[in-house]
């Protein structure tokens, strides 16, 4: 009953990790439910997840948003708006 969480770019630098496995908290069924639990993990996490309007989310490598469902075994990735090309 775990989730895989990924962070990229400046969010990775704030959280200090690019990949972590966390237990699926009770009563979490969407990305929006999950974010406060992750933000509570460290000051860096809180900093990274402070402004969710500036963050993009992918669940199982497909773009989602705060309403996207999450369930045990899912990979949830957080990253800034992209700047490639």
């Amino acid at each position: 009953m775990t989730l895989t969480i990924r962070y990229f770019a400046w969010m990775r630098e704030h959280t200090g990790t690019d990949l972590e496995t966390v237990p699926l908290p009770e009563n979490v069924s969407s990305v929006g439910d999950l974010v406060p639990h992750l933000a509570a993990m460290s000051d860096g996490h809180a900093q990274a997840l402070k402004n969710m309007r500036a963050v993009r989310v992918a669940v199982n490598r497909t773009y989602g948003d705060l309403d996207t469902p999450v369930a045990a075994g899912d990979e949830v990735a957080f990253f800034p708006p992209v700047t490639g090309g």
Binding site: R6, F8, A9, W10, A58, R61, T62, Y63, A77, F79, P80, P81, V82, T83, G84, G85
Partner: protein
Amino acid sequence: MAVRVQTEDFDVGAESRALQAETVGGIALFIGTVRGLSSDDGVTAMTLEHFPGMTENELERIEAEARARWPLEDVTIIHRVGRLLPGEQIVMVGTASAHRKAAFESAEFIMDFLKTDAPFWKAEERGGEKTWVEARDSDDTARDRWSD
């Protein structure tokens, strides 16, 4: 599907030849490069990070959308990652079609969506300082004009 994410450079001439075929009348290529010191505010290097697995999925999805909109014979999308110096090539999009309008439009379409949807992030170095590049509203505007 011809999508590649790689650290090594690519050869535009070879990529152009690979897009050529009996049925092709026009090839459109776009090559994005790292702007140099003199142009800008003193960028000495750039590092490109991406989300392996998701990046390829997104590029293939963009390619598939381009192929659904235009009659394309072939498509190549190459994006480099890692540390790049001014003047180096970052990205190439190539489209081959019987007709030039389809080749031009689809290459521009792919670049516009790549810029907003493919999970790459650029950090610029200026002297010893690293700064993450911020996304530009103009890239969203460029993408959104295809949605009518």
